[in-house]
Symmetry: C2
């Protein structure tokens, strides 16, 4: 390879450089590198090897180097990466050089917690407005911000130059809120409601579903149990394998391991309690 412009710079002289067209997988890891770098900086290190940074970020070093190489060439062979320079560069690419204003919709259980979450403020964001549909919650003050009624969203979002909307409402309200945010010109949404959102082209939605995370873990638990039990023999005391577990027997009614009958085109209902 030869001369290295910060990957993807525009041709037009003096122009704002177009961002490198990073692979999504890389984008998703940059924040993790950034966090690790801030830790290193605080610890007083001013350079770090790909090996060291990779360990701090929980990835392997080849992946880290490949990721960073997409940003351009900011390391020094034989030495490593300059911590401050790299922080700088990643913050620039992620668009963290100015603080983005975030609107949080839904100040129930979860919303309340998010409104008070210090990690947002410390990592480049400012919660600029809180909304709720419940009139009894409007006016409440949380962390120095007053909860406004959702009907004010359109106007307030424009005034506050909201860049990102966070949805922490029940699923039933989420699509309506989304439409409002989109109408207000918001093009990035973080959705905590357990549902799929329809948005126009050009609007990005990321989803966080806490129950899904547990269900994925549950799969692996189930899997580990089925692996360690089979080539052993006595499947005792393992609720994962016993048809009638020792755990409560609730909502997702217990079922036989394998589907039953499955004969005719008919369905053999088993889900009933």
């Amino acid at each position: 390879m030869s001369q290295h412009r910060p990957a993807g710079a525009s041709g037009r002289a003096g122009a704002v450089p177009a961002l490198p067209d990073l692979p999504e997988a890389t984008v998703a890891r940059l924040p993790e590198y950034l966090r690790a770098l801030h830790n290193l900086a605080e610890a007083g290190d001013d350079t770090v090897s790909s090996e060291g940074l990779a360990a701090a970020a929980g990835v392997n070093s080849a992946k880290l180097r490949k990721d960073l190489s997409h940003l351009g060439s900011y390391g020094t062979r034989g030495v490593g990466y300059d911590v401050a320079l790299l922080i700088h560069q990643i913050e620039y690419v992620l668009g963290l050089t100015h603080r983005r204003a975030v609107a949080l919709v839904g100040v129930g259980n979860l919303g309340h917690a998010l409104a008070g979450y210090a990690g947002f403020a410390s990592r480049g964001f400012r919660i600029a407005a809180l909304f709720d549909a419940d009139p009894t919650r409007v006016g409440e003050e949380i962390n120095g911000l007053t909860v406004r009624h959702i009907d004010d969203l359109l106007q307030t979002a424009a005034e506050e130059r909201i860049a990102i909307g966070v949805i922490a409402t029940p699923a039933s309200a989420a699509q309506r809120v989304t439409d409002l945010l989109v109408a207000a010109g918001v093009t990035s949404i973080l959705n905590f409601a357990p549902c799929v959102l329809a948005v126009p082209e050009g609007v990005d939605v990321r989803k966080v579903d806490l129950a899904i995370e547990l269900q994925i873990l549950s799969f692996h638990e189930h899997r580990k149990a089925s692996l360690t039990a089979l080539p052993g023999g006595r499947d005792e005391a393992d609720p994962d394998l016993a048809a009638t577990g020792t755990e409560d027997t609730a909502a997702p009614a217990p079922v036989e391991p394998a589907p039953p009958g499955r004969t005719r085109p008919t369905r053999t209902e088993v889900v009933g309690s």
Copy 2:
């Protein structure tokens, strides 16, 4: 293809069927399908086409069919999937046929909200114990559960047959808590603390970092701004492109787009403003 056993059934007759060795990407989507299926069931549908379910789950139908085919063959050509049967099957694979006990460590801001989150209970989990290191919080009752001191974790986890640990402590405490959970025999951890956890082989960790989600969105905002501004011209009023934004100027100290100094070892810097 011919006769279809529930993919990966063990040879041993009457044995608990080994779980199919699903691709991770598939595992991560099954909970989404499950949620969509529950919605359909509530709406009274008892069959659904791959097209219909895919739409409800926000994926394309080819992907859905491929995912489901890994579970075995539970659809009917010309008809679609039996909703109840499929719910059944996915719940079995995910290990949701019995309710897993979850321990939540850290009842601060976020932990409080998680302790009260109804979605856990309704989707296959039971919060069985709450822990905190702060003595002033021990004894507090949240949602019918009493907060215990973290020192009781080892004993309580065994008693309550804890299957999954959720960490909602500050990052500084997370590794200690992890070690405790692991010592207590917990092999699945959901980590909300912004840090990397070291765990022994065989322990699964999933991570949710709220700030990272926003930072990923920030990247796309930044990117959209740089794309729509360049081939336009007048880069007015866009804090993404103006060096001195209209937004607050805070924590991640505002920087020039391009790294400073950085003279010698040169590559033609273009990123400068």
